[in-house]
Symmetry: C2
Subunit: 235 residues, 2 copies
């Protein structure tokens, strides 16, 4: 049975890394002593080890040990044997490129579908959708494909941001960008605001946190979904 947390962001303003999620993570990873961390998204280009050390400090607060996937000879084996898995944020293009380079996109999807508890934040959440095509990130490397884990039947836009009506900037709003996506694609997109996460238990996909989430579908008016909504109907 799938057991997945998909969070918009790792960190809220003026809080420590993962702080707002720790009570949830204690429950989510209750049967795990060790978490396999996938540091491939490398925020700001930091090294896999630097990133893993930072994540280890956060998980130490709930008495979990963290090991980076880069520490294993065989990344696929590490995924198969993991008690729980966390993929952190950073750049989605870098993350997806590295998953393909190490040939682990498929096995990662497989073990999560089979029940290995998974946490994704930001880029690590983006890859839970069918494709990474609604990421906010810059295409700083060229991945062999935009296809991702397909753990849910829609795509995600983490760090979803409402239009700033006072702005004079002429760049596209997030909503405009997602509408543009739907000029070329049919997959629904969920705009997940910072502080929101999805709790996937088997076929149930519950919106958690205090905020509504914005659902975009091709040729339809966007819809605000209340916390507690089961998103299993979105496909």
């Amino acid at each position: 049975m799938k057991n997945i947390l998909i969070a918009s962001t790792s960190t809220l303003a003026n809080e420590n890394y993962l702080e707002y999620l720790l009570p949830e993570l204690q429950l989510h990873f209750q049967n795990c002593n060790t978490i396999l961390f996938v540091p491939y998204a490398r925020p700001g280009g930091i090294s896999h080890q630097e990133y893993t050390t930072m994540v280890g400090l956060a998980f130490a607060k709930i008495n979990k040990k963290v090991i980076g996937i880069h520490e294993f000879e065989d990344a696929a084996e590490a995924i198969k044997n993991a008690e729980g898995i966390f993929t952190g944020g950073g750049n989605t293009f870098v993350l997806v490129s590295q998953l393909y380079k190490n040939n682990v996109m498929e096995i990662l999807s497989e073990v999560i579908k089979n029940g290995t508890p998974y946490l994704g934040t930001s880029a690590g959440s983006n890859i839970c959708g069918l494709t990474m095509q609604t990421t906010n990130d810059m295409p700083i490397v060229y991945p062999p494909s935009f296809k991702t884990l397909g753990l849910i039947h829609f795509n995600l836009n983490p760090h979803y941001l409402d239009p700033d009506t006072s702005s004079k900037h002429m760049g596209e709003t997030r909503e405009t960008r997602i509408k543009e996506y739907h000029a070329f694609n049919t997959v629904p997109v969920l705009g997940l605001r910072e502080g929101s996460w999805l709790d996937v238990k088997g076929d149930t996909i519950t919106l958690k946190g205090h905020l509504t989430a914005r659902l975009f579908r091709q040729n339809q008016i966007p819809e605000e979904l209340e916390p507690g909504t089961d998103l299993n109907f979105v496909k």
Copy 2:
């Protein structure tokens, strides 16, 4: 001799399309009766014809006729025969995909290097760099390559936006994104604010408009360049 205008945006807040650039365009396209328009970036997914009609209305104010490249049987021939060329904004992934699909990336680069007057705005400016890897756009389609026209020896970030220091949003600032680009790439990046453009005449690349532009180089502190600066030294 290269004769190129590379503008951050087509439109300033509370102005009409191309309005702030029209005096400049009158000069730039002085020897052209007809402008070949490349509508491939399709902002908001509008059709090539809708986009071309809109651009035609703007250019009519300086007595230029506009023909969309989609109106020609042979896109490469249209480019070869063009008196002047304009590529409008929209989605850079869509634009680059279509340029490759129609097999015109190379010929477009060639005629512009040989002197056909060119105007790019936003996505149409982005492709003037070596790659499209510092676009702000969503990867809504998968292009066969990120390589672009290479008319200048650096990359561009149009619609460059300074960090909003009052924001509680945890998504990356533009500066953070470009720094991340430089964790993986050596090509310099110019952040071009809305209202700025580059005027390329042969080997001289002059920053125009009233604003400074922000130059990012790998492992260096970003630099503000004054209007009037010749950017030929950036490579």
